[in-house]
Symmetry: C2
Subunit: 466 residues, 2 copies
């Protein structure tokens, strides 16, 4: 074990102190999640009213559990939690997830209970994640500590650590299986009475399974430590963050949600700038930008090539590119010449291939040639491709499309795809195939441009340029 | 016929002057589109090399067509177009769509050809839509003048007129059938050598089938006339517009796309403010905001109630609401009391029902009661509801969910839904059912808030408040 924090993601034994009633949430579901996800460690269900659950022995209290478990998960009514923590201390537990809610986010009584828990934990050197959390997941080890059904066994393993100060980070809120998103680890901070965003950042920085950290925070508990640690983490891997509370109304609501004291937004803005954390607006950006970092190389500069079948779409993309710090790549004379050879209507960037595609005998070859010309151009650092899926085009040959894109990998420049078309099912199918091959696909032409701009900014500030 | 412009949407007879080869685009596909969409008027295919197509008589030239058709559609090589227009004049045609491209958007020769066409048309009092356009559609009459397969017969009829200075407005680019979007009319302006955005605005203002105008423009041909007409149109119905060209790079590209002279963005911004046109960033906003106007009543004020199962999501929504001009409604004492009766954790807005939902025996009844309390509150002008679709919740009963929402119609206040969950297919199904009942559904929690903010702004400026 590298640190106590690691116990929240890499425990070898777990105690689940909870109701074990067979329902859609709670201890029963949590244990089932662990079994289905393939957690290889020891599981100790704890409940005085049961002797067996899911063919496992149930212990009347954590004190009776025969070993000091790596991690205890508590899902009991709030007023019982201090007592349970004391028992955990007696067992020798050093890491506890408190799933129960009704603490600082609820009322005065809850705040006092939370403080009591913190005091007990400190005395016993116990680290606490939560309360008011849906826990953690580790896709490398089959760990899941969520008390809702997650279906994580069907979610794709990947390199994005997805964390939130909210139960929203996980398969209980996002259709992670259906969208086949790339998850390495999941964490809900909950009320952050002890373990906080900085602890998790520090842990994830050295997690070999995590390439990019996608995080939603409602506040920061220790600003100085956050800036210090985050600065180091960003040197190792990109960190993207949502931080609401730009308005006083939202700050007020934050207090009710997780007991967060949000502070002035300018302070956060400054901290993000100083540390190199990439601030994003919402969960769509968080996941959409992160997948670019997870799948594609970093750009060496900010010059973008845009290859499009939609002239109008291409122009919207230019505004977005420029306003987000990209430059429209000026193609070399050689590239311009090669494009003009393909068709006299080609030659400038954005490369609008629509007219050419109507007369070119093989649309896929046209795409491939244009993409190769653009990406081999030394003035081009990255490319945004518009792909058109329509039943009446030759682009029905999805495997050939994927092949054409695969051939671009040799250029080692990031490529994004805006896929539009007429059939959601076909678009979905092609999108999954392209993403399986490592090309991030987007359903609009603003997000992929912003994602590339974000990658270019990160790349420019990185001490280890690609 | 109310105006010559009406001929582009309500013709009783059409001549199609084009190649009739059976391929995936061109005159053949266009005529097939008309037949399948159920166009009831007369169709005259024109081509010297054919005698029959799709069981219809083909005329060797437009001059041989036995009546002065309401609308001629030209899809012939660019250098032949001036001659064809002259023949159209001899037939007595007053409205022509030029689908052909290669004019002002291509090169000097194209610019000259386009000018020649304009001169001929002026002499003969012919109005031209295009060139370089995919034409028009009218869902009330089964008209479609697009030379790509459209599948419009399966698209839902609705009250949004969707226009663009691009081929992107239509089923050849958007999965309109799959998303079941609400279309009244479609128009691609193309190069706007004659008929322009202002002509179409003026026409749509009095179109009884159109409740909201969703438009993408690359430039405005006559600024003064645009401002005058648009001001009048906005008094009658909301107009939403995309106008790219905020950056000099995009302005340059506009010239190559449709020969547009974009002008300074501040001038457009000022014109939009003056006229009351709602400027949006991209096609997602254009369609997503328009569907709110199409489906829901206008709010009487800017006070929003937020009902959410995601506390974190609710807070992101607050920032968006405030920054876009909404206010978080302060609930009346009566509403607060009724909420607290349901559960002591309720009472403030945003109304976060997550904790309550875990202990409430009937989640749907909880939703319904909370929604009714919020919408009956005189301090609340509109509501954003977060709906959670997960296989393990009682929310599987889609028809009951729809019923619960239908019961909100009596309050005559706009309601939007953010649907999140774990299964794309279930979310899709529920989304379609809710939208069929008139409730716009969104896949994130930023867009529906911005949509309500936009509706509140329009409502506040409207001379006929709701």
């Amino acid at each position: 074990m590298r640190s106590t924090i690691a116990r929240f993601f890499e425990p070898e034994s777990i105690a689940v102190i909870a109701s074990l009633k067979e329902t859609w949430f709670g201890g029963y579901t949590l244990i089932k999640n662990l079994l289905v996800f393939g957690f290889p460690g020891k599981i100790y269900p704890v409940n005085p009213s049961y002797s067996k659950v899911l063919d496992m022995q149930v212990y009347p209290s954590i004190k009776e559990v025969p070993e000091a478990v790596d991690l205890a998960i508590i899902i009991t009514p709030r007023h019982t939690v201090p007592g349970v923590i004391k028992q955990c201390a007696e067992n020798g537990v050093k890491a506890v997830i408190i799933t129960s809610d009704g603490f600082a986010e609820r009322d005065q009584e809850g705040s006092e209970l939370q403080q009591e828990i913190v005091n007990i934990a400190k005395r016993s050197s116990i680290r606490i994640l939560g309360p008011n959390t849906v826990g953690t997941a580790n896709f490398a080890t089959g760990l899941v500590t969520t008390h809702f059904a997650t279906g994580y066994e069907k979610v794709r393993k990947g390199s994005v650590a997805f964390c939130a100060q909210s139960g929203i980070a996980g398969a209980q809120a996002f259709p992670l299986e259906d969208i086949q998103y790339w998850i390495s680890k999941i964490c809900d901070f909950g009320n952050k009475c002890d373990v906080d965003e900085t602890d998790i950042l520090e842990y994830l920085a050295d997690d070999p399974d995590t390439k990019v950290i996608a995080m939603h925070i409602e506040d920061v508990k220790d600003g100085q430590r956050f800036v210090k640690i985050a600065t180091e983490v960003v040197r190792k891997k990109p960190v993207l963050m949502i931080k609401p509370g730009r308005t006083k109304e939202a700050k007020k609501a934050l207090r009710a949600h997780t007991g967060a004291l949000a502070g002035e937004d300018q302070i956060y803005e400054a901290a993000f700038k100083q540390t190199g954390i990439i601030r994003v607006e919402n969960f769509e950006e968080l996941l959409n930008f992160s997948k670019l970092f997870a799948l594609q190389p970093l750009p060496r500069g900010n010059n973008i090539a845009i290859i499009t079948t939609s002239g109008g779409g291409g122009i919207l993309a230019i505004d977005t590119a420029i306003e987000n710090g990209l430059a429209i790549a000026e193609l070399s004379d050689q590239s311009t010449g090669r494009l003009k050879e393909l068709s006299p209507t080609l030659g400038t960037n954005p490369i609008d291939i629509f007219t050419t595609s109507l007369v070119f005998e093989d649309m896929l070859r046209l795409y491939q040639e244009v993409m190769e010309i653009a990406l081999s151009d030394h003035n081009v650092d990255c490319a945004a491709i518009v792909l058109y899926e329509a039943p009446f085009t030759v682009l029905q040959q999805h495997s050939q499309i994927v092949e054409a894109f695969n051939s671009l990998k040799k250029f080692n420049k990031p490529v994004t795809i805006w896929l539009y078309g007429t059939r959601l099912s076909l678009m979905r199918e092609l999108s999954l195939r392209l993403e399986n091959s490592g090309f991030p696909v987007y359903s609009d032409f603003i997000t992929p441009i912003k994602a590339l701009a974000t990658a270019a900014k990160y790349s420019a500030c990185s001490p280890f340029p690609p």
